[in-house]
Symmetry: C2
Subunit: 286 residues, 2 copies
């Protein structure tokens, strides 16, 4: 990446946690030649992140961070992204590209539509990678390798900015960069990410005694791993995407009821058929 | 283990798949000095297992396998264990200890109560270890290291046989060997193993399109991993433990409904509280 394909001499990352830190680590490892500026609220923490070698400079002043940057990526909690982008956009020069890494797209893209200064572009992103861990300490330069990133450009988004953003994510290792509407993204991700999170949390809530903990084998551990995620971050995500999640929960409840009916009625043929379908679906992902 | 603490010159393993094969591998690796006999239906497959070094001898005649063995372990599908044990017990000498590795205990222990020849003991076991993989090809000598094994002895089970069985599982690497009633086991395991399986299968059923597969990140992969398990084996397990699983599903549905209500009502405080409780429960397991 010595001459970066996304044309940015300075990149600002607002919110240098697991995702923001991994973006910085991936840029550094791949030889990004420009300056990486970390933007956050805690100067002490930003200093640690700089000492860890993830960022070159830092600021607690979002406008200052935006002013000299060609590309700005918001990795803050989903319920803080819109206000952060509006503030940064006001300080940005024409030609600046702003994106985010939020797990919901409609509630971010809709309020920003038509609200940015002339020449400043916002295009939503959702890098589909993560971990139940949080914090820049777990930043991983290869977190995105082989993964999928979704872009949700508005109909009037400049083509060259979409191309820049695509080149940016691809340079970090993503195997696929998809484009779709924010609404479509939110419906699909409700089923593939938010629903599993709610389900894992409900399972973890349902198994609470010391004996149950001792008798929880690898299956239970895997199935509930994501329930260790940060409650504040996930509450914000689930609330921002409440509508699609409700529909996903309905669909899930229907499938679970089918399994339950087959078990209760001792219908071995139907139960095997359902489990085989589930296995086929799952094996296609692996 | 040069002089084995469970006093068995010959061990028969009926059903040499992932669990039976891993028991054999663990015995071999830990220097078990006696003979391991594989019992199965397919001579060709048993020959392969012998060639892989897991077993010393094999037979397709369950009575012949039982006749000279001091310890017999049934690792067959749960709906075939009772009939297999009754056949083996008829051919066994007094002093023989028979156990199983089934994921349900009541439907195995109850029908066997009082049905075995004088001097032949059956004590149910459930080694809490496994994988979505199957077959002796995935046998792992360390599959049981650090895990928990449950024994469900009847009230009149000879103490020396319980001690032998405990010594046997401990010698394979289990960190804890618990004793409880078959009914209690089935209730707890319904929540910690069978419920997660049904939930993972329902999630895998709910996400079926090619775009959803592409947008399924690590969270979805982990949460549904066990849905790749063998449909026939799991249908048998779920049907054998239908009652406790129904109760576990009720409990789970209640927890999921709490989460759903908090999301639908945009009650951030309640949602964070539930997610925090789930995280606390889950973190205690890890």
């Amino acid at each position: 990446m010595p001459s970066d394909p996304f044309n940015a001499r300075q990149i600002a990352i607002a919110g240098v946690g697991l995702i923001g830190g991994s973006i910085a680590a991936a840029l550094k490892q791949r030889g990004y030649p420009g300056i990486i500026v970390g933007v956050g609220r805690s100067e002490a923490k930003l200093r640690d992140i700089q000492a860890a070698g993830l960022i070159d400079e830092f600021t607690t002043d979002a406008a200052a961070g935006a002013k000299l940057s060609d590309l700005i990526i918001f990795c803050t909690p989903v319920d803080h992204i819109v206000e952060g982008i509006l503030a940064a956009a006001r300080a940005s020069r024409p030609g600046t590209l702003i994106t985010d890494a939020g797990s919901v797209k409609g509630p971010i893209c809709e309020p920003l539509r038509g609200q940015l200064p002339e020449g400043v572009a916002f295009i939503g992103s959702h890098p589909l990678a993560g971990s139940e861990k949080q914090g820049y300490e777990h930043a991983d330069a290869d977190l995105f390798v082989g993964r999928t990133c979704v872009l949700t450009p508005d109909a009037d988004a400049p083509h060259e900015q979409i191309a820049r953003l695509r080149a940016f994510w691809e340079s970090l290792g993503f195997a696929a960069v998809l484009e779709m509407s924010p609404e479509h993204h939110d419906n699909v991700i409700a089923r593939t990410s938010h629903l599993p999170h709610a389900v894992a949390a409900a399972l973890a809530l349902a198994v609470s005694g010391p004996e149950e903990r001792q008798m929880a084998a690898t299956g239970f551990r895997d199935t509930t791993r994501i329930a260790s995620g940060d409650p504040d971050l996930w509450a914000a995500i689930l609330l921002e995407n409440a509508g699609p999640i409700g529909a996903a929960l309905d669909n899930f409840a229907g499938r679970l009821e089918e399994l339950r009916g087959a078990i209760a009625q001792h219908d071995a043929a139907r139960l095997k058929n359902l489990l085989q379908l589930a296995k086929t679906n799952r094996d296609r992902i692996a």
